[in-house]
Structures are given as C-alpha cells and as structure tokens.
C-alpha cells in the first residue's frame, strides 16, 4: 500500500486544480476538500486522512472529511469528533499554527490531557499511532486542520510532511476563496435586489450609447424588458421631441467622464407615447479612455402632473393676492377721495349757509380737483385690473399713470424720468412695473419723503429701473426683508436674471436699482 514519496507531478496536479478552482463561481468546495483527504490517504498510504474544520460559532474543531479509514466503526467514531479548543493533536496544531508530527500519539506529552492513560487507551482503540497534523490557515484566522494517521509507528519523511503542509495550505486557500466568493455573491445579490426594488431604472451603456445593462424597472417605464433593450442604442427609446438634447447630454458625459449630470427629457414608450423622465448620467473612464456611461432614469409623469397643478395653484394664489391688493388700493385711493369729497361738501354747505360765496366757490374748486383725482385713480385701477393694458400701452405709460395716482393720493411729488425709445420684452415690462409699484408703496408707507423719482434708462447690457427718495432711509442689513417687500422684488427680478441693489442709510434716503440684462438692449430717446 505504501506508495512511497509522492512525485512532484502528483502534487502539482492537485495544486493546479485548487488554483483553477479559485476562479470565482466554478468552485465546488466539498469536492475539493474530499479530494484533499483522498489524495493525502492515497499518496502517503496512511490509515486515515481527516479534515476537521473550526465551527465559527462554537470554536470547536469538527470532523468534516475523511478518507482511507478501513474499519466502519472507527469511521463512525471519527465522524462524531467534536474537539474543544486546545483538545487533542488538532487543538495543539491550531494553537501552534504549524505542522505537528508525532510517532506515538498516545504517549505524546505535548498533547494536552487530564488523563494520560485514557488518551493512550483511545489512541489504541481507534488505531492512532503516528500522525502528521497541518493547520489550515486563512488570511484572517485558522480554518481547521488536516491530519493523517497510521496504525503502525512510522517516521514521516520531510517530503511527506511537506506534502501534507501543501495540501493543507491549498485546502485553506480553497476555503478562503469559497467564502470570499460567497460574500461576493451575497453582496451582488444585495445590489441586485436594490436595483430591482428601486423604482428608477438603472442603465449602463458603452461609448456608442448601446445598452450593456438595464434593470427590470425599465419595463414599467418604457414597456421594453431589459432583455429586449440590451444591445440596442439609446435612440431605441429616445422620443423625437428631445432626441437632440439626449445626444448632446450623452456626448457631454462621454467628454467629461466621472462627472455627473441630471437632465429631463422624454423617452418613447413601446406604444409610442412620450414618457417624461429625469436622467442621471455619469461617464466611465477606464485606463484613461472613455468606456461608456452609467446612470438611472426616473419617471417624472406624476411629478410633471403635480408641477402643473402647483403652477396652476400658484397663479390662482397670485391672482387672489392681486385682488386683495386691488381692494386695498381701491380703499386707499378712491374711498379716501370720496370721503374727502363728503367732508368738503359739508364745508361748502356751512359756508353757503353763511352766505360766504367766495368760501363756497373755493370749496367747489377743491371738490372739482378731488373729483378729477378720483377719476384718474379709478382709471389707474381699471388699468391694473386689465393686465393687457400694460402690454398694450407699455411700461412708460403704465408707470406715468401710477406715478400720477400716487402723487394725487399722498401729495408726495413723485417724478417719472423715462428714457426708452421702444418697448421691452413683455415679462421685463411686467416685472419692472411691479417692482416700481412695490418700491413706491414703500416710499409712501415708510420713507416720509419729500421727493421721489422713478427712472427707467437703457444701459449697455440691458435696462435699468431706479426708484429714489430723500426720506428717512433705513439700514438694509437690519431690516426684515419680508416686511418691506424687498424679498418679493428680489424673487421677481431673479426670474429674469436681473439684479436688485438697495442703497440706503438711516437719514440718507433710499435708492433701489434693478438691472435687467437683455440680449437686445433698447435704445434711449436722447
């Protein structure tokens, strides 16, 4: 049965098998470990070759594989073996983490035992005399032990010891790789589950824009399964409404790998209808050259609907705010004018009763002026009620009306200096008009000014609106913006990319300037 010293070729053959097995996903660990004990038993001609593996939870070394055991009852006994840490030859090997050989196991004093006679008895009973025991050591921990036993006393050669060590090392390597592989698979499964559960479709494409991966969510999004999409180009799902945008964006990602971008576009559903989506894309660079792009696609149908509703609500709210403002304006202007007229009539009646013709005439003159002012204000307010008036008559005419109304109501001399040859874009006129209105409102309410000027002037890059007064001023840093409607001005201006600057200091008046950039700056009249 003794085959003698195994050849290098024998050893090399098995090692190659283990190394091949280290390629992930093709490993069959139980088969490999069984082969390890089979080969050990065969090559060394021993009476038993056993692998004990450490149980991670209990810390015990448990029988896992055996070969070469002739007696069935001995085999059965060996297979029940569960060794406490430190127990037996296996425990010794694990403690030392090196190959241990013994010629007479039962009498070996290195083996821990509280009953040497019993140890001897068990060894004799199971037929364990000489042994080589090699640890299976992984990168982080001991994994188990490979033991070979003989019934007869035998002195093992260095080559035999080396063989067992090599088998043990490769078995350890196989176990490690198998575990890493399991972890990798588990991690992959986790990511896959994540990909499958996320409502966003995840995609990867090569540098031509051809899909190399698409997650399952794509099917609910565009009606094509990942299998149907793979190998197709982005254009397969691009909707004609945004196809140029998608090309431009993907080209950007390819040109700027590792940088992310998010953009909105329409995809074409299998049935042809456009699906509004938001695409996230990041170019992938490998070894310095662009290798494609990855990203996700989010369905924006619901969000687009909500955005539409929100916009409708916002404009409704704006309209209702506008109505509240108009009611306030009516109250501030026309109501006060009419009240003043009743008081003036009261005065006129008294004077008339006294026969004071000159006094009565003076009151009638005041009445005529009040009536005139009230009419002008009514016209201005009716103008407000018809947004198209601003469109029809233009910013300058609208500002002139408004300035006249404020002047009549408050007695503050407000001057309009407009130097515009033509009209401005509709939204610019609307924005500047509202800002001028708000700013004049502030002047009247807070400034205690004796003079205010509204100026509209062309500048090189666009147009500028300035509202200036000589009133009490304020500290822009200390004032609560909301209170003065300054925030509202900023928001309005921001929509046009315009800039609002506020210059004011307590006691030194206030100057608000709004600069709107325009592609075609208007000319001046002067």
């Amino acid at each position: 049965m003794t085959k003698g010293v195994p050849t290098l070729a024998d050893l090399a053959g098995w090692c190659v098998e283990v190394d091949q097995a280290c390629v992930p996903a093709i490993i069959d660990l139980p088969m490999l470990l069984q082969r390890a004990v089979d080969e050990a038993a065969r090559l060394l001609g021993v009476d038993a070759a056993v692998i004990y593996l450490l149980d991670r939870d209990s810390g015990r070394a448990c029988w896992s594989y055996d070969a070469g055991i002739p007696d069935e009852w001995v085999r059965a006994a060996v297979r029940e073996t569960e060794l406490e840490p430190g127990q037996g030859l296996v425990g010794l090997t694990l403690l030392r983490r090196e190959v241990v050989t013994t010629e007479d196991y039962g009498a070996d004093a290195r083996v821990w035992s509280d009953d040497r006679a019993r140890q001897q008895e068990t060894a004799t009973l199971l037929g364990i005399r000489s042994a080589i025991s090699a640890p299976l050591v992984g990168a982080r921990e001991a994994l188990g032990v490979l033991c070979v036993f003989t019934r007869q006393t035998r002195a093992f050669s260095d080559a035999e010891v080396a063989l067992v060590r090599a088998l043990a090392d490769h078995a350890a390597l196989a176990i490690e790789n198998s575990r890493l592989n399991e972890e990798l698979l588990a991690s992959e499964a986790r990511y896959r589950a994540l990909l499958e559960r996320t409502p966003d479709a995840v995609w990867a494409a090569d540098s031509d824009g051809t899909f190399t991966f698409v997650s399952d969510a794509a099917e609910t999004l565009v009606g094509w399964t990942p299998e149907e999409l793979l190998g197709h180009n982005w254009d397969f799902v691009n909707h004609e409404s945004t196809i140029d945008e998608v090309h431009r964006r993907l080209a950007w990602s390819m040109a700027n790998p590792t940088e992310s971008q998010i953009f909105r576009c329409n995809l074409r559903h299998r049935d042809g209808h456009p699906v509004p989506v938001e695409i996230n894309a990041t170019g992938i660079a490998r070894e310095g050259h662009v290798d494609g792009a990855i990203g996700s696609v989010r369905d924006m149908t619901e969000r687009q609907k909500l955005e539409g509703e929100l916009q409708a609500q916002a404009s409704e709210l704006a309209a209702s705010q506008e109505r509240v403002m108009l009611a306030q304006e009516l109250h501030d202007s026309v109501t006060q004018a009419l009240f003043s007229m009743t008081l003036t009539i009261g005065s006129a009646e008294i004077l008339l009763g006294r026969g004071d013709a000159a006094g009565t005439a003076q009151k009638l003159g005041e009445l005529r002026d009040l009536g005139h002012d009230a009419l002008a204000e009514m016209r201005a307010l009716i103008f407000e009620l018809q947004p198209e008036s601003l469109v029809r008559q233009g910013l300058v005419a609208a500002l002139r009306r408004h300035v006249e109304a404020v002047r009549g109501r408050t007695g503050i001399p407000v001057r309009l200096e407009a130097d515009l040859a033509g009209r401005l874009p509709r939204q610019v006129e609307e924005c500047l008009y509202r800002i001028a209105q708000e700013a004049l409102h502030n002047v009247v309410k807070h400034a205690s000014a004796s003079l205010a000027v509204v100026r509209v002037e062309p500048i090189a890059s666009g147009v500028r609106l300035v509202i200036e007064d000589d009133g009490i001023g304020f500290d822009p840093a200390a004032v609560h913006g909301e209170h003065l409607g300054l925030v509202g001005m900023g928001v309005r201006a921001g929509r046009l990319g315009a800039q609002v600057t506020i210059d004011s200091r307590p006691g030194e008046g206030t100057r608000i300037a709004v600069t709107v950039p325009l592609e075609e700056p208007p000319g001046g009249m002067t």
Partner: protein, 152 residues
C-alpha cells in the same frame, strides 16, 4: 405743514390731524375750521412727524385717521400719544368699525366712523371739546376720574 387759524379771532381748541391721505387731512381740517370748532395747528402722515408736532405744539385734540393697512402698528402710537399728552383728547377715525374697541382700549377718547355723514363727524368731534376744557382746568381731577374708571 402748519396752517394758520381760520376766521375766528378768539383762539379755539388746537387740533392736530394725522392720516395717510393728504386729501382727507385737508378736507377734515377744512370742515372743522369752517365749522369754527377748532384751530388746526398741523397735519402729519408719518410717526416721527406726528410725535414731533404733538410734543412741540401740545394740541388739545388729536384726530388720527387709521384707515391704513398697518393700522395695528398705529394703535401703539395712540398709547404713546396718550402718555405724551395726557390732557389731550384723542379721536380715532376709520372706515373699519372693528377698530373701535381696540382704539378705545389703547387710550383713544372717541372712535369716529368715516362712514358717517360730514355733519355727524363734525358733531362727534364737537362732543370731545367740553372734556378738553374740563381737563385743561383740572387735570388732577380728570386723572383721578380716569383712574377710578379703570379700577372699577
């Protein structure tokens, strides 16, 4: 703006008119002076102006038109004026009758609804004047009376 007393040779109670609308201030001053009830010694629209005129001219009557969006803030001014001129009669005018109770709570002597006809408004101001005369004679007694009113 300080207007000179009207036709009356004998100086009447001196009045300060405060309000946001220049036309209301003017027509109110016109009505009260034409009626011969009061001499309007000034009109004001802002807080600082109001406090300036009240402390420098010590008017007998202050008429405050609180028809303005920030009327609540101006109620505080009523209390301030009350402290500044304890002997002065303060009347609050507004189209909003909801302001009546708070105006009185903040120390106004009367609330005049601007929805009333001109004659009624004139009469409401006239009704304040006997109190002004009484206070200018016996300020201490008036204070005692006010305190008693508050305590009860």
């Amino acid at each position: 703006m300080v207007t000179t007393p009207s036709h009356d040779a004998e100086p009447g109670p001196r009045c300060l008119i405060v309000g946001p609308d220049v036309r209301v201030r003017r027509s109110l001053a016109g009505l009260l002076e034409t009626s011969g009830l009061l001499d309007v010694i000034g009109t004001a629209s802002g807080v600082i102006e109001t406090l300036d005129l009240a402390s420098s001219h010590r008017p007998d009557v202050i008429l405050l038109d609180l028809d303005r969006p920030d009327a609540d803030a101006w109620l505080d001014l009523v209390a301030t004026l009350r402290d500044l001129c304890p002997r002065c009669a303060i009347a609050v005018l507004s189209t909003a009758s909801t302001l009546r109770s708070s105006a009185l709570a903040f120390g106004a002597d009367a609330f005049v609804a601007k929805t009333e006809p001109a004659a009624a408004i004139r009469d409401a101001v006239a009704a304040l004047l006997p109190g002004v005369a009484a206070r200018s004679v016996e300020p201490e007694a008036h204070h005692l009376a006010v305190r008693k009113e508050i305590e009860s």
